[in-house]
């Protein structure tokens, strides 16, 4: 039963490029990228209880390093990807040491301040990052000699990476380490008394989340073939956080649903109105006031009530 359900779910995803137009294939690729990004943030927010407002840092660092190495220094995509992910992980490790000195709101403020520093650097260090003009004219990689320039090819590539990321994060969460992470989220002092090291558990999670944030950053820069400081901005972090919270933090499906909604909203709304930031703000207010636990847990509750009622 479970297998049939997952096959029914997977088949349209796999076969999407066969029946959808380029616009929808590209939209789907963007959703996959946003979903990886939101899932990685959810490791911190949902499972670790660490609300970060600076997660765009890792997406941006990976994207910028890759863009600089391949665009300016002519490095191949393989080594560039390895270097940019290493750089991202190092950034996350360093930021984690600073931000995890605090918890709760202090953690949120420090992550926000750190990511704003990176945003400022991307803007101001124009001889390296090209400032407000961004870095354009980038290429997509050619894994095993297959060109990813068509919308369908890139979509399949993104789908493979996204499925793998989803799997890896699901394993992480359901592992014994994931259990200890949830323990640290709910009862840090008891966990410490039991001999766990809450700080180390949080730090490892922070780095792991940064790693997958970096992966989504690589996909992001491959997809757009362009990078601009706005991808490091608070808006970018806030969009991902909104996705996590709207979908339901602490669930695996929630961030995917939330990221999809935010991205669709952004795409469709921007066709009619230019005021994306204002809409984003209003959606924030709406979600927090009306649906604080998110869509997926909300639907789960509804389904449970329905089942109980029908019995």
């Amino acid at each position: 039963m479970k297998w049939i359900a997952s096959a029914l779910f997977a088949a349209p995803l796999l076969l999407l490029p066969l029946f959808a137009g380029d616009f929808y294939i590209n939209l789907a690729s963007q959703i996959l990228i946003a979903a990886i990004f939101a899932l990685s943030l959810n490791l911190l927010v949902g499972f670790g209880g660490m609300t970060s407002l600076g997660h765009a840092s890792y997406l941006g660092v990976a994207a910028y390093i890759s863009a600089l190495l391949t665009g300016r220094y002519g490095l191949g995509h393989g080594p560039a990807a390895i270097i940019s992910i290493t750089g991202t992980v190092a950034t996350a490790a360093f930021f984690g040491v600073i931000a995890l000195r605090a918890t709760g709101l202090g953690f949120l403020m420090i992550t926000l301040a750190l990511s704003q520093v990176l945003w400022g650097l991307a803007y101001r260090m124009s001889n390296v990052t090209n400032g407000d003009n961004g870095i354009a004219g980038l290429t997509r990689p050619m894994p095993f000699g297959i060109s990813l320039d068509s919308a369908a090819a890139f979509y399949w590539f993104a789908l493979i990476v996204a499925s793998f990321s989803f799997l890896m994060m699901a394993i992480f969460v359901s592992s014994s380490f994931g259990s200890s992470l949830k323990g640290v989220r709910d009862q840090p002092r008891r966990m410490a008394a039991l001999g766990f090291n809450p700080w180390m558990i949080r730090w490892i999670t922070f780095i792991y989340a940064g790693f997958w944030g970096g992966i989504s950053g690589l996909l992001y820069v491959y997809y757009n073939k362009y990078i601009h400081p706005t991808s490091l901005s608070t808006t970018s972090s806030a969009e991902a956080l909104l996705g996590v919270i709207a979908g339901g933090s602490g669930t695996l499906g929630g961030p995917v649903v939330g990221a999809t909604l935010v991205l669709m909203l952004k795409n469709y709304a921007s066709a009619y109105i230019e005021r994306w930031n204002m809409l984003l703000g209003l959606v924030f207010l709406f979600i927090v006031l009306v649906m604080p636990t998110g869509i997926v847990p909300g639907l789960g509750k509804l389904a449970a009530r329905f089942r109980r009622g029908s019995r």
């Binding site: 000195r101 403020m109 420090i110 926000l112 006031l289």
Partner: protein
């Protein structure tokens, strides 16, 4: 020598501005345990109010404008606190998220209303002439700005330490439950403090106008500075906000003058050092 003196004065005036911005943030955080991410937007709103008011009515006095804009921003802040934040009393994360949403709404509304070009705020006529002292030339307005910040600091200190309402706020900061139990209306204090913090930020935005001018993105430039100041000085501490503001004012000004491209990195070095050795900040009593 002239360079160092002028940059020193610029640092002081930026420090003064940062104090006007971060003192309110710190007050709000201390009492309400709320990281008010709308604070940069309140500051920007003040600057825009001044820029537009002075463009339309050129005879207007800057100080009157500061008072008016401060009151207007305080009213907006009060409404926001009453209508939205009080509903989320039990949800601190939700509170932060709505302040973030609100900051997006305000900054986008400013863009819609007043366009993408920066609007200058003129320096008052009687302060345009430079001051000569000890053979050096100083821009008078910046000196006055530092004076304003110091006066605000003294006024806030007196308010907090010498008045009844200040004593109630301090009681609320120290132990909210106990304060409620002895009959202090803590919820009303929340509104008062939020209005006060927003108002100071709005008035600070007006006073910063002649130096910064009103432009889209001013909020995103100012908010991280406020965050760094309060993290450095200690969240909820007025003295911390004061000292932190001037430290950051100096570091940012000299950083931008000497190493323009690395100013942002230099800015966050002191924050790292302080967090590493004293997570509660220089003058904070509790860590956030």
């Amino acid at each position: 020598m002239q360079f160092w003196i002028i940059q020193g004065l610029n640092s002081l005036s930026l420090g003064g501005l940062l104090f006007l911005l971060s003192s309110g943030f710190s007050l709000i955080f201390g009492l309400m345990r709320l990281a008010n991410l709308t604070h940069g937007a309140f500051f920007m709103l003040g600057t825009y109010f001044a820029a537009v008011a002075l463009r339309e009515y050129s005879g207007l006095n800057l100080w009157v404008t500061a008072l008016g804009a401060g009151l207007a921003v305080a009213a907006i802040g009060g409404l926001f606190e009453r209508l939205v934040l009080t509903r989320l009393k039990t949800n601190p994360l939700g509170q932060v998220l709505v302040t973030l949403g609100m900051s997006f709404i305000i900054s986008d509304a400013c863009l819609v209303l007043w366009g993408g070009d920066s609007i200058p705020v003129p320096t008052p006529h009687n302060l345009q002439a430079p001051t000569r002292m000890f053979g050096f030339v100083f821009p008078t307005y910046r000196l006055v700005l530092v004076g304003c910040a110091v006066a605000t600091a003294v006024a806030l200190y007196l308010l907090m330490e010498r008045t009844r309402i200040g004593a109630m706020i301090r009681a609320g900061v120290d132990d909210r439950q106990m304060a409620r139990a002895v009959g202090i209306p803590v919820s009303n204090l929340f509104t008062i403090v939020f209005c006060l913090g927003a108002g100071i930020a709005g008035a600070g935005g007006v006073l910063g106008g002649p130096i910064l001018s009103a432009y889209p993105g001013l909020d995103a430039d100012m908010l991280p500075l406020a965050l760094i100041v309060v993290i450095l000085g200690g969240i909820g501490s007025l003295l911390g906000a004061f000292v932190g503001s001037f430290i950051i004012g100096f570091i940012y000004t000299f950083g931008t003058a000497l190493f323009p491209e690395l100013a942002y990195i230099i800015l966050f070095l002191p924050m790292i050092v302080v967090i590493a050795f004293r997570p509660q900040g220089l003058f904070g009593r509790v860590s956030a």
